[in-house]
Subunit: 338 residues, 2 copies
């Protein structure tokens, strides 16, 4: 039996592939990667990686490659199931996806994903399983098996408290995962306050990411065309108010910090990129879950509410374009009226 | 000297061309039409009209065709200047466009255009000039010199009170224009309450038209995808509240009436069509002017405000795409911060 930790990695985009490379090359983990669309390509020739931290790597393949979760079972049982897919609970359920490979009191789930409230359904589905939060600051993209990673690999790992395991057990597992991932070229550190980290990231994502997606404009254009004053700041104030009602006090200065964070670059945030590719967006975890907290706590968030409801219409538009919704040729006459 | 009224018609889209045809064929007006993009086409072969009211008309040409307003002066002086262009005060000024052909105490301006508050700058610029409101219910389109008019020609004509002319003078002019336009095939009637009519139309346009434009969805899809409850009804309630603060009491039932008004048809409202064509939208007169009233009267309109601010970003996007805004290759670093 190998002394290496067994890791299943689900979601082989830019972030996931760098993670599988780092975990393998550090030598402490044996990675099985679930690869869907690029499966044959990666089987044949591996990934080509161009990384600011790790240099040029050709033909990288993790220890095992499978094209669906069920096929990975033979390489388990897994110590860690690392999820780096998009988080779109209105489109597909991560807990159902990973259910076949979660072994009670054995497997830890690591969610390296965007958004707020992403742990809730996971902790409900797997009581007592330890769930870690990964917030990756990398900007890494994947096209045709080629990974481009121009931003440094900097990741915080923390605990989504499952309220069953002891704090210490959860802490030790988090530290263990950090030890698997850390090397002298990256920065992987323990996150004392995951809730704070995730609310903080929403200050950017719920506002700039949403507005860019709705207007098909990058952050720089939203600013130059006047959107920072008309939309971004009002929306950011709402995020701060909801966070505060949830026990997280963010400084006002975070707003200006986030507005300036892409200065000098015509940066297109993730949901804008998703829409330009015709893909689904992460609107539920970037806005919807935060708005649920607002509702529970009686916080008014009119700007975020409108942004979210518009994005959900666009999500339905994508569903129709992908064939998940079929509409009749003739618009039906409503029968809801008198 | 001709006993016919002299009419200058500016804006030869679907609505304008039907108007010029009706005014000419009724025999009481001599129409000069300002035609820009289709000038040579219309000069050569006229318009081809396919109308539910007037049948098929080939090679229709108004009495005079010019390709800019200054060239029309030789066919004046005009009794009526009828404006049927899009109303986009953030893009171009109608009062500057028509200034060369407005003769004090002679010319009446007829605005057959969408939106609210469209008379304000006109009345300021031409004190004492009579200004009429035309609200056309026709659905008429123009492509390549071919007019398609599938909906009946039904137009209300009323007074934008200029607060200088007597009510009676303004009324008589409105009735005179109605007599020029009316025939046994159309329905052109006096509008007792222009303000009511225009607030009423905003119940549809500020809400459904805006939401469709922002989501690239027709009215039927916005409804089927859940947008009526999440966006349209809240926005409509805001329109009703602003109208009320402006002295116009619309019945609550107008909301359901407007939501159902396109039942059975996958209808794309005007701003959605404008955006799909890559054109500017009438967001200022459909939303912006109403929001000015809200601000003056202290009425909260958060939904309409967000819709409007998003549409204004999209308007700027169109400006850049049309080359009216040039941005540097490198995003500038802001100097607004400390």
């Amino acid at each position: 039996m190998s002394s290496k930790s067994k890791v299943l990695l689900i979601g082989s985009g830019g972030v996931g592939t760098i993670a599988s490379y780092v975990l393998e090359s550090n030598g402490k983990a044996e990675v099985t990667s679930v690869i869907r669309s690029d499966y044959q390509l990666v089987l044949d020739s591996g990934y080509q990686i161009k990384s600011i931290d790790y240099g040029e790597i050709n033909n990288f393949r993790p220890s095992h490659i499978v094209n669906n979760v069920l096929d990975s079972i033979k390489y388990g049982p897994f110590d860690y199931v690392v999820v780096t897919t998009k988080n779109q609970p209105d489109i597909f359920s991560i807990e159902e996806l990973i259910a076949p490979v979660i072994i009670k009191e054995k497997t830890t789930i690591v969610l390296i994903q965007n958004g707020f409230g992403i742990e809730k359904t996971i902790i409900e589905k797997f009581p007592g399983t330890i769930v870690l939060s990964g917030v990756q600051m990398i900007s890494s993209t994947l096209y045709d098996g080629i990974i481009d990673q121009p931003g440094p690999d900097s990741m915080s790992i923390g605990i989504f408290n499952n309220n069953i395991s002891t704090k210490n057990d959860q802490y030790l597992i988090a530290q263990n995962f950090i030890s698997l991932y850390s090397n002298e070229k990256n920065n992987c550190y323990y996150d004392e306050n995951v809730k704070y980290t995730r609310w903080r990231k929403l200050v950017y994502n719920a506002t700039l990411n949403s507005t860019c997606a709705l207007t098909d404009l990058d952050v720089g254009r939203v600013e130059l065309f006047g959107g920072v004053d008309t939309l971004i700041k009002p929306a950011m104030k709402e995020v701060l108010a909801i966070a505060k009602s949830d026990g997280v006090e963010l400084p006002e200065s975070i707003m200006e910090f986030m507005i300036r964070s892409d200065d000098g670059v015509w940066y297109s945030p993730s949901m804008l990129v998703d829409l330009r590719k015709g893909n689904f967006i992460e609107s539920v975890v970037i806005l919807g879950n935060a708005l649920d907290v607002a509702k529970e706590n009686g916080i008014s968030a009119p700007t975020l509410t409108v942004l979210y409801n518009l994005l959900q219409l666009i999500q339905a538009r994508t569903k129709e374009r992908k064939g998940l919704i079929k509409l009749p040729i003739q618009r039906p006459i409503s029968n809801t009226t008198n």
